[in-house]
Structure formats: C-alpha cells, structure tokens
C-alpha cells in the first residue's frame, strides 16, 4: 500500500471522492456551517427562529417533535445504502448526459459551414460593408475598433456597463465599510492583519525589477489604448495591461505606497467620469444618428493619431474603466477594500 501524503484530505482527489460519496448536500452544509460561524452579523433567519422556538417550546412541543422526527428520518436516510446508491446513479446519469450533449454539439459543429469558406453564409453584405466602407465611414484603420465603437457602439456601451456592474457587485459582496465616525469595524481589522502576510518585506529583487517593468508596462498599455483605432488593440486590452502593471506595483511595494496615488476615491471618480463620458457622448451621437441630424464630430485623416471621431476618446474611457475594475477586484479579494 502506498504511503498517504499528510495533506491528502485537502487534495482534489479526496474532494472529488467525498463529493462522489456524499453528493451535493455535504457541500451545502459545509458552506452554511462555515458562513454561519464566520459571519458576525446575526443571522436573523435561523437564530431568531431557534430562540423563539425555545421560548415557547411547551406550546409547540408537538410541532418540534415532528420536526425532530423529520430530521431523524432525513439523517437515517442519508446513511442508508439506498441513498448512496441513488447518489451514485445520479452522478452516472449526469456524466452520461454530459457526454451525450458533447457528442451532439460536436456533430453539429462538424456540419456547420467551414471557417474561411468563401461561400459561407457569414460572408454577406454585412461583412462587405464593414470591410469596404469601414475606413471611409468611421475613419478607423483598425476595422474591429470601427465595428465595436462606431457601428455597434450600443453593444459596447452594454459591455462596459457589464464591467462596471461586475465591479459594483463585487463591492457589495466584499467591501468592508468603516463605521459612521470613521473607526474600523472588527472585520476590517481582522482583514488588515490577515493581509500583512501578503505585504512584501522589502524584497529587493522584486522591487528592483518592478521599478524597471512597471513604467514599461504602463507605457505599453497606454500605447495600445491610444493606438486602438490604428492597430490591433483598444480599450479592453490596453486597460487590462495597465491594470497588470498596477497590480505588480501593489504586490512589490505594498498598499501604503500604492495608496498614495490610487485610493478608493480614485477608483470611483475615474470609473464614474469615464463611463458617464461614454454614456453622454453616445447618447448625443445616437440621438443625432437616429434623427438624421449632423453630429459635427470630425473624422480626421485616417491613420493620424487624432482621427476617427469618437473612437479614440471612447477607447481611453473603456481602458480606464477596465484598468480600475481589474485593480479593485484584486484589492477587494485581498482585503476587502483599498
């Protein structure tokens, strides 16, 4: 028999084995227990109920006894062979179903028109106009930038809103707020002390290389953002490069130094300003377009850096939103705030 490793319980194989044996219920229970233990807020749903039920228990003895019987039955059922067999059958069926789905989808893809086939249905008048008239109508050498930020700008407005709403959702989930008078709550203190493990301790190699790399990464990201209408790239890719630089800086110099130029206020102001600029600019442009009014935005000479109308400022706006969002994600997952 081979030797078991000391950390075998937390290894993926064991987790899969446990899941296979216990089904989903174990996972649910684990999450519920963990959260109830960890959370400092009173769980008003279950705690209050339990409390009240204890208070007037003599009146509701019968109900409680019935409930206990139910629970006993559930537990007894959970330990029977029948349930284990059922959960195995369940897992088997889901695997079979998944493979059948995969088979059918692969077969469907095999009968679809081939990529780069000149007779494919995708090669129609829509594509033709993008390719032939894209430069003339949008002023962008990079046709993709012209498509996403001019022809189909409404979809892209939606996409940048997706980033914004994702950041807000993570803020709801993870941000730890201070009290009204500005003093930190217990959770925040705990998170900060936890986070000290990740703070760098004047690591010379890391800091030295970050000093060289971060400016280059910033420069490259900004170049990709500003040049989005001329060459492959644009706001989404440039913004994520800039945020990679920011995260590298944070990892090598710590929150204190990064906080000198990037705080929570910076995040909210930058993303607010760029998104509201995007929304207002596009509202104006849509309104003019739909009502047949001239918008008065010059397209410039194709190929020049200041050309293609709104595409350049929109790329900058999208890039700023992406950079801020990625950075705040990192900070929130580390310690619940900046």
């Amino acid at each position: 028999m081979s030797k078991r490793r000391s950390d075998w319980q937390s290894r993926p194989q064991n987790r899969v084995r446990q899941w296979f044996h216990n089904g989903f219920l174990a996972l649910d229970d684990e999450i519920i227990n963990q959260v109830t233990k960890e959370t400092l807020r009173m769980d008003s749903d279950s705690e209050m109920d339990k409390h009240q039920e204890m208070l007037d228990s003599h009146r509701h003895e019968r109900t409680l006894a019935l409930e206990r019987l139910d629970q006993y039955n559930i537990q007894a059922w959970a330990n029977t062979r029948g349930r284990k067999a059922l959960s195995r059958i369940y897992v088997t069926i889901s695997f079979v179903l998944a493979f059948v789905m995969i088979f059918f989808l692969l077969r469907t893809v095999a009968t679809m028109p081939r990529f780069s086939d000149p007779n494919a249905p995708t090669n129609n008048e829509v594509m033709a106009r993008y390719i032939e008239k894209g430069l003339e109508e949008t002023g962008a050498v990079n046709i993709v930038a012209g498509m996403i930020l001019d022809y189909r700008a409404f979809d892209t407005l939606g996409e940048s809103t997706v980033l914004f709403i994702a950041a807000s959702a993570v803020l709801i989930l993870l941000r730890i707020d201070r009290r009204k008078d500005g003093t930190p709550v217990q959770e925040l203190i705990a998170a900060e002390s936890d986070d000290r493990h990740y703070e760098p301790r004047s690591d010379r190699i890391l800091q030295g290389s970050a000093k060289v790399l971060v400016p280059i990464i910033f420069l490259f990201g900004i170049y990709i953002m500003l040049n989005g209408h001329l060459s492959p790239g644009g706001g989404f890719s440039g913004g994520s490069i800039v945020s990679a630089g920011l995260i590298l800086y944070l990892d090598s110099f710590g929150f204190e130094k990064a906080g000198k130029f990037f705080t929570y206020k910076t995040f909210s102001w930058v993303s607010f300003l760029s998104l509201s600029f995007y929304a207002i600019a596009k509202t104006y442009s849509f309104y003019c377009g739909a009502n047949g009014l001239p918008s008065g935005i010059p397209l410039g000479t194709p190929g020049a850096i200041l050309s293609s109308g709104l595409i350049l400022p929109l790329n900058i706006a999208v890039g700023l939103v992406v950079a801020c969002t990625m950075y705040i994600f990192y900070a929130l997952f580390r310690k619940g705030g900046l």
Binding site: I31, F104, D150, T161, F164, I165, S168, S276
Partner: protein, 498 residues
Amino acid sequence: MSIVHNFPFFSILLCMAAGIFTSMFKQKLAKWVTFSVVFAVFTLSAFTLALTLRLDASYPFMMGHFPAPWGNEIRIGRLEALMATGFSGVLLLALIAGFHHSPSFVSEQKTNLYCIMVDLALAAILALIYTNDLFTVYVFIEIMTIASCALVVVRQNGHTLVAITRYMIMHLLGSGLLLLGISMLYGITGHLLMQPLNQAVRQIVQTGNYTGPLTVVIALITSALAIKSAMFPFHVWAPDTYAFAPPLSSAILSGLISKAYIFVLIKFFYRVIGMDVIISQNISQFLFICGSSGMILGSVFAISQRDIRKMIAYSSVAQIGYVYMGLGMGSNAGTEAALFQMLVHAVVKSVLFLATYELINVSGDRKRFHYLHGAGYRNVVAGIVFTVASLSMVGFPFTGGFIVKLNLAVSGMAYGGWMRAFVLVALAVSTLLNAVYFLHTVVSIYRRPSQDIVYPSVVKSPWYAMAAMTVSAVVILYLGVGSQPILDIIKEGLKTLI
C-alpha cells in the same frame, strides 16, 4: 420623427446613466434618483404606448449613424410599449412599497450600490423588451444576470450564499447555452438582426441546408431562456433564491426579471424563427408538457412547505408553468393568454412578496405558519392586499388570475381530442391545488393567535408603502374587471411583433 419616437431610447439610456451616476451619490440622493428615474421611465413608456396605439405597425429606431444590419437597432411596437409600461409601473410600486425595509438587508454605505443594481436591471429589462438584435440580447442578459445576483447577495447569510451559488451555476449555464446558440445561428445565417435572420431561416427550411444545426440552435436558445426563467424541470435554483433574498429583491426577481427572459423567448419564436417552424420542430409541445407539469408539481411542492416565503417561491414555479403552457399551445390565442399572465403575475407576485414581508414583520420576524396567526389583524392593509393577491393566484372571479385561466381554457378549447382534455384537466387540478395552499394561508393569517406567543409591540409601516400596496391590489382587481383593452393591445401587438 417626433420627440416621442425617441422615448424608448431615452428610457434605456436614462437607466444606464442613472446607474453610473448613482455610484457617486450618498444614500438618500441615490434612493431619490432611482425613484425618479423609474417614475420617468414609467411616464416615457406610457407616452410611447399612446404613440404606438396610433401607429399601424412597429417602427425601428436606429441606435447610431448606421442603418440596421450594420448598426444596432431597437424596434418599438405596442406590445413592447405595453410590457415596458407594465414592468416599470410594477417596479415603481415595488420600490415604494419595499424600499423602506432597506436598512434590514443592506448597510447604509452600500445602499447606493443596491440602487445601481435596480437601475441597471431596469435598463436591461427595457433593452431586452425593445431590442431587435440578438447580440444586444446577450449583452443585456449578462447585465441582468449580474444585477440579479447582486440583488440577492446584499443580504449575506448562509442561506443566500448557498442559494446564489446554485443560481450562479444555473444562470451561467444558461448564458453559455445562449451564447453558443447565438453564435451557431450567426454561423449558419450570417445575421444578428431579427428580420434578416427570419428570411435566412425560411431559406434554410426551404432548401434543407443546415437544418440539423438549426434544430440544435432552437433547442439551445429555448433551453437557455427556460433555465433562466425557471421553467419546471430547470427550476431548482428558484425557490431558495426567491425565498431567502430580501423581499424587494424577490419581488423584482420573480416579478420582472424572469418575465423579461420569457419575453425574449416569445420574440425569438415569433420574430426570428417563426412559430410554424417551432411547431414543426416539436419545441412547442415540449414547452407545453413542461409548463403543464410545472403548473401541477410546483403547487404540490408549495403545499409541503412550512416557510411562507418558500411556499410563495414555489408558487412562482407553478405560475411560470401557466405562461409556458400558453406559449406551448402554439396558437396566437395561447400566446396572448401567456403574455397576459406575464403581466398579471408580475403585479401579483411582487406585491405578494412585499405583503408577506409586512405580515412576517408584525409577527416578530418569524416565517412559520403557526406564528402568522392573526397577522392580518396586526397589519390590516397588508392582510387585505395579501388576500386579494392570493385570490388572484387561485383564479377567483373579478381578479386578474381568473381572466388568465379563462383565456387559457378558451384557447385550449380550440384544440380537439386529448389536448383539450389535457388543458382543462391541468387547469382544474392546478386551480384546486392553488386553492389548497393559498386559501389555507389566508385563513391562517386571520386565525386567532395562540395566547402563549409573545408578539412585539405594533410595528408601524409607513403610509406610502401601504398606499403602494393598495394601488397594486386595485390594479389586480382592474385586470380582472376591465382587462379587455389590455387584451386587445396584446392581440394587435402580437400581430405586429413579427
């Protein structure tokens, strides 16, 4: 083109801008901005409805400088305008009736984030109602999915986290299937705009090229939207999510967001694929069977619940079953009944969740039925509103639910043989089951409370919340008494939806 033609576009952009601006506002201002934006959207939609009633056909609106197959487009008809008006009105009532509970589920510093979610959810609902482009559908479904997750998870305890994990898994599966379906459809037709797509689909059906992928595409998109709107076998995420989310979020989720997915599905059937193809591919029969079994089994599950919120959540599954049964009949009459049910259920379910919360609140935050005895006397308005909404759920005459069941039965009568019998029996059984659990609840909130339970001293709810609930109850009664104009709009609107 008059200024009123621009109103749908204004309302979408207004909601998105409000979401963005709200991120910078403090609690009170954020709340007021959200309220006024929803009110403005309601007014704008009502004007749009008045405009479209004067037009014979729906009109396209160009989102940008480029005409439709190249740029984005929304298309506004009377059905779309009716849905937008109804949904924004319901959201307005729900906000007035439910927002004063916000301190109980969201901390003060995060209230503005909650407002962002409400604004952007409304933006997504409006965009899904009006859009004429399949990719826009996908983008705004993404926004709606994230917004609904955040709406649930503002209250963080074990129950909501488990519920939301399940919700995320199911909804991401749905989004994945939808994206797969849309990209395959683009691959075999070369279009994303709905009218050219329809022509391309007709050509595929005539020539016989790519019919296999077309079937797969229809199956993928239908199942994606069915998962997202909690159709019966895919409903597993729904009960926990609706039951443990904050009451206002449950009202928005089950009342509005699931309906927006179904509206997209109806648009996909009528405008993109064509109902004849759907019927010939047996998709509608599938929906019919799922819907009718959901009607019955959802009610059976609801009967066995001890927590009142879970009971209402399961009844949502049953009510969505009515929509899918109507849609699955494959006739215009059936779809009209389904659309009317969407409106009725949006009003009824949202007010039901909020009234239930008021009843729970006056019973010391306890949810089991035996603690709720006498709750109807402790909060009189909420008790009456709950009773009216329950009667509508059962299908009592003079309420909206009665008209829904009547229309479903009438459109079922158009069929012969086993299908007619099946529709009538399913309706009868599900009405009976609805009566069992809703009337039981109504009776139990008016029963004499036991002497031993100590209830907290009277918890006063603000007058505006009670007024909003009363308005909802009046709307439910109006839908039962004066529903003919709305049914006419739906009938005409369905013709111009294509």
